[in-house]
């Protein structure tokens, strides 16, 4: 497939390949810019916990930068990168070409327009209500919704013109994720049932679903394509992947009520939520086992293949993060952890340890296959180890600190004691966060190599036998 790089045979296929590579690269470059920006903001925020008078003033105050950090990692970085990957997977796994390249470019423009407008609005204080992950003004969220609709249309169109009978599993997850998220976005925007406590119910629904029905299915879709390609070995059980798709769809949205364990929601809603929190282990354990069994006997390959190592960390992040989510739903544990920094640790374990590592694994596996250009092994190693160690320090320090914070409250210490006790953990979080940010600079460099860099002169047969690095 890398013959595509050999220029001057302007066949239709050639044009398709360059077009796909260009769109895929543009999505990843765009996403990388947002990752750098959003995590730089994250570093500033982390620093403010130790030095609250650092970078004062209206435009840099904590409460305005914080939603910029979360929304841009969600909708700038992860969303754009996942949609770029989903397009590549759809075109390749269906052995077809884009339904519409133009729509893909329009979608990219809309995603970026939304993220830019949202960032500016938040910094100017136009926050829709401090409601987590839907802080952008509704007009901006409409732009994002338009980008989703364009993407769904284009993905479905592409899969509809596939050259084989079956639709490969990855496309189930990616198309499903985009369509469901359209519904999530609409439910969040319409105002008529969002007054007072009613809005609390919608917020719980939204926070829960925007993460678990958007990032999770798209990241899983990447796993189902990239992992077999990388190992040149089929997924362990295809049927289990299908089963996980339907169980995830049926169980996950029911659990939203576990965010309301202290509220006056009807008893049956709460009972259902708690019971199905356990049922949620089916898609989580089944899915993780499926990926790990696909890797059986080949774990040693990670020594040569950083893309595989990224995917492995992503799978472990999915397993640990999701199981932790189930455990946190139990009320006895929520008494200690709810409202503490433990939750911040949990969200980074899932959005970073799972989703972001999955994206990186996908990019390092698939982007070179599209462009024929490879990052250096040193670049991969630096990125992997700094991101891995950094996020480990980040999650562990906030989990321990958050536990102490919760215990301080329970033993009735004056509130300020919990602030003082968090200080060393805030410092460690900053250390972990700094490593993570530095790894993103290396990642950006790797993306440059994979897009603007020189093509590999060694022609590779398939990514399956590749170790994903330049020689």
């Amino acid at each position: 497939m890398t013959q595509a790089v050999v220029i001057d045979s302007p066949s239709a296929r050639q044009q398709d390949d360059t077009g796909l590579a260009a769109i895929f690269s543009a999505y990843i470059i765009s996403a990388t810019c947002w990752l750098l920006f959003a995590t730089f903001v994250g570093i500033v925020l982390a620093y403010k916990f130790g030095a609250p008078d650092f970078a004062p003033g209206e435009w840099l105050t904590f409460g305005r930068l914080r939603p910029i950090h979360t929304n841009d990692t969600f909708y700038g970085w992860a969303s754009i990168a996942l949609v770029g990957l989903a397009y590549y997977v759809a075109v390749r796994s269906c052995r077809t070409s884009f339904y519409s390249k133009k729509l893909a470019w329009i979608g990219l423009g809309l995603f970026n327009l939304a993220a830019i407008a949202g960032t500016i609005a938040l910094d100017l204080g136009y926050n829709a209500g401090d409601l987590e992950y839907r802080e952008w003004p509704w007009q901006v969220r409409l732009i994002f919704l338009a980008a989703l609709v364009v993407t769904a249309w284009n993905l479905i169109g592409t899969v509809a013109q596939r050259t084989m009978e079956d639709i490969y599993l990855s496309n189930w997850y990616t198309i499903g994720g985009v369509l469901w998220t359209c519904i999530i976005a609409i439910v969040a925007i319409l105002p008529w049932y969002q007054y007072g406590l009613g809005q609390v119910a919608v917020s719980g629904y939204y926070m829960h679903n925007a993460v678990g029905m958007w990032f999770t299915p798209l990241a899983l879709g990447i796993f189902y394509y990239a992992l077999p390609k990388l190992l040149s070995r089929p997924i362990y059980s295809y049927a289990l992947g299908v089963f996980a798709f339907w169980t995830n769809l049926s169980f996950y949205p029911i659990l939203g009520a576990h965010h309301f364990l202290f509220s006056p929601l009807p008893w049956w809603l709460q009972t259902t939520a708690i019971v199905f929190s356990v049922a949620m282990l089916v898609p989580v354990l089944g899915g993780s086992a499926n990926f790990l069994l696909t890797m059986r006997g080949r774990f040693g390959d990670m020594r040569h293949s950083y893309p595989l190592a990224f995917i492995f960390v992503g799978v472990v992040g999915y397993l640990v993060g999701s199981t932790q989510g189930t455990v946190e739903a139990f009320r006895s544990l929520q008494e200690v952890w709810h409202l503490t920094n433990f939750t911040v640790g949990h969200s980074h374990l899932t959005m970073y340890g799972f989703v972001t590592f999955a994206i990186w694994g996908g990019i390092y596996t698939l982007l070179p296959a599209a462009t024929g250009k490879y990052p250096s092994r040193t670049g991969l190693a630096l990125h992997f180890w700094m991101a891995g160690v950094g996020s480990f320090i980040y999650v562990i320090s906030l989990s321990i600190g958050g536990t102490f914070q919760g215990l301080d409250w329970i033993r009735g210490a004056p509130f300020i004691q919990s602030v003082v006790d968090m200080q060393p953990y805030y410092v460690w979080r900053g250390v972990g966060g700094l490593l993570m940010f530095l790894s993103h600079i290396v990642f950006a460099w790797n993306v440059c190599r994979m897009t603007f860099g020189r093509s590999a002169n060694v022609i590779r047969l398939t990514p399956a036998v590749s170790d994903g690095v330049a020689e």
């Binding site: 497939m1 595509a4 296929r13 390949d17 390749r92 796994s93 052995r95 084989m164 079956d166 490969y168 599993l169 394509y225 077999p228 390609k229 040149s232 070995r233 089929p234 997924i235 362990y236 059980s237 295809y238 049927a239 289990l240 089963f243 169980t247 364990l261 202290f262 009807p266 008893w267 049956w268 709460q270 009972t271 259902t272 019971v275 199905f276 356990v278 049922a279 282990l281 089916v282 354990l285 089944g286 086992a289 499926n290 069994l293 009320r331 006895s332 398939t462 399956a464």
Partner: protein, 54 residues
């Protein structure tokens, strides 16, 4: 500990019963698929995907 679990005992039992049966059935199905993945056909989609994409 379960302060919030008010509501009629019988109602809770019904939900736990129904949800429990569904959960259990799903667990059994999951374990079954893990133990016997089957899918040995040479042109099963999961193998088909490994062929050259272009």
């Amino acid at each position: 500990m379960h302060h919030h679990l008010v509501g009629p005992l019988i109602g809770n039992m019904i939900i736990i019963g129904v949800a429990g049966v569904i959960t259990l059935a799903c667990f059994v199905a999951m374990i079954w698929m893990l133990l016997r993945p089957g899918e040995t056909g040479r042109d099963h989609p999961k193998r088909d995907i490994l062929r050259e994409d272009r």
